[in-house]
């Protein structure tokens, strides 16, 4: 399965244009791509367009040779896994229930023994096994975000879209969750696209960066190139310096 690519996507909410001709070449499979850009630059909208939850005014989304617009919404969402990161958490559902829901993908009433084992394994690996029997209404923002990631990873899709998967997490869990996402993408040899605000995390975990701003793609490439480009400082409206950290990692400083 070759990667996801997008050509000339246009989208507007009413008369307010959000995306203007967004396109990128096929994303490499097995590698993590980070989508960066300031607030309201259209990152979430781009994800919804790729997932098919919004209809573009123009342009296409392809997965390999397949034009995704030709699939039914249901089929498309099985191939493209998009998990909004927060949920209204007033339901009397346990953490196990909601991950099972993602595992089942709306198929059939019955839960097989294999389903139960798969969900239990996913919860255990996700480090939220101790929450298995807690109701989702009792969770903190960070915990519900971790559950969203587990919900996404329990599914078997060709493309994974994560919208800000670490915004409510502490340092350790940020590293934990992004590490798990990167490993899963590499193991499954699928396409992974993560929207991130933290440029340091993007530099650390992503193999490829896409900078979105003013409804267009302003820069694209390996972190080293994109983070050192002029476009990034201009887009964010701050001065940016990139240095090398103690473990040969890139550090982004903003002034």
């Amino acid at each position: 399965m070759s990667g996801l690519h997008v050509t000339g996507l246009d989208f507007a909410y009413g008369s307010r244009p959000i995306l203007k001709g967004v396109g990128f070449a096929p994303l490499p499979t097995g590698k993590l791509t980070a989508l960066i850009g300031p607030n309201a630059s259209g990152k979430s909208t781009l994800f919804r367009l790729i997932a098919g939850l919004l209809k573009p005014n123009g342009g296409q989304v392809h997965l390999g040779d397949q034009d995704l617009a030709k699939l039914s919404t249901r089929k498309r969402l099985q191939q493209v896994c998009f998990m909004p990161q927060f949920f209204t958490a007033n339901a009397a559902l346990t953490v196990f229930d909601v991950v099972m829901m993602a595992q089942k993908q709306l198929r059939g009433w019955k839960v097989s023994s294999a389903d139960i084992d798969a969900v239990a394994e996913a919860l255990h690996r996700g480090g939220i096994g101790h929450l298995s029997e807690a109701y989702v209404s009792e969770l903190s923002g960070g915990q519900s975000q971790m559950i969203s990631v587990v919900q996404a990873l329990v599914r078997r899709s060709d493309v994974y879209l994560f919208d800000e998967p670490t915004s409510a997490l502490d340092l350790r869990h940020q590293l934990d969750v992004l590490g798990r996402i990167r490993d899963a993408i590499a193991d499954r040899q699928v396409t992974g696209l993560v929207a991130l605000h933290d440029l340091n995390l993007a530099a650390r975990f992503a193999d490829h960066l896409i900078l979105l701003g003013e409804g267009r793609i302003l820069a694209e490439g390996p972190p080293d190139t994109v983070l050192r480009s002029d476009a990034i400082a201009r887009t964010y409206g701050v001065e940016i310096e990139v240095t090398e950290g103690p473990r040969r990692d890139l550090l982004v400083h903003a002034y």
Binding site: P84, V98, D117, G129, E133
Partner: protein, 357 residues
Amino acid sequence: MPDTPLLGPSASDIATGYRKSITKRILIVGSAIAVLCLTVLLDIVSGPFDASIGRVIQVILQPTVATTNEAVVIWDLRLPVALMAVAVGAMLGVAGAEMQTILNNPLADPFTLGLSSAASFGAALAIVLGWSLIPGVGGLFVTVNAFVVAMLTSLGLFAFTRLRGVSPEAMILVGIAMLFTFNALLMFLQYGASEIQLAQLIFWQMGSLARATWEKVGICVALLAVVLPYFVYKSWALTALRMGEDKAAALGVNVSGLRLAVLAGVSLLSAVAVSFVGAIAFVGLVGPHIARMIVGEDQRGFLPLSALCGALILSGTSIASKSITPGVVYPIGMITSLIGIPFFISLILTQRKRHWQ
């Protein structure tokens, strides 16, 4: 990143925990069914005509052994009433459960959408003005009128959602507007009604199982047999809806389509229930809440237990309505509220978790 040890229970412990909770859920549903059988039997036994439980079971299993009296009392009078209580209770329980789910509102039940007051208005048209909205239905015209007006109301709700999109808030607001409209129309009719008509109307509104017949029981069961499998088929989608529209849509749920289809099913269930037994408050609201407190909102437990709770409440009410004063059968509408509400409040007070903050 250091390889941090994973804390918490092992995968097999988690799986075992979930399997236990499923077993527990099956046991709860099983015992609810057992208790329901018991209340149905008690319902048949209780009343002015004395019959022992043993004799009743014998007559039900072997109709030929019954004396003429027993056959009439048990088969023609009490069994339809007892089964009607179960069927209508289940219908209201399921209707309330799914209304609360699709509207994301804990107060949703057939009353909230104006269906009950629409049915009352339909009945009033028949009782006060003698109108029959569907000609040729004979003595059933009160019931048929109630049903027709209730269904027209939900059609109106449908049309509205077509125009304005299917947001739960809008649906509830329109439902409440319907409720007040029909209440006003009802008062209008009551104002012009004679004393006898007024008494008849109020009695109808209070709700009664005494109008039960085998045909009505059959209609209720047939309807449940059509609607329940659909809800079962959509169970994961409905569970997903409780996580918010966004999440459900990301899982591939067609949210507005689901809302409309479920609204259709729920309207049918409540319109039939209300037109057969009158406006019974409380069952559709509280049955699902009790079920939610016991098994949570995974539809695979929530749906059957909501039906069973509704059935149990109404079956229990049917017994109570005959037992409070010997020889008098009280209207069930007021009993459901009188007995159920203290029970419900005690449940709320003793509950650890609150899900509708």
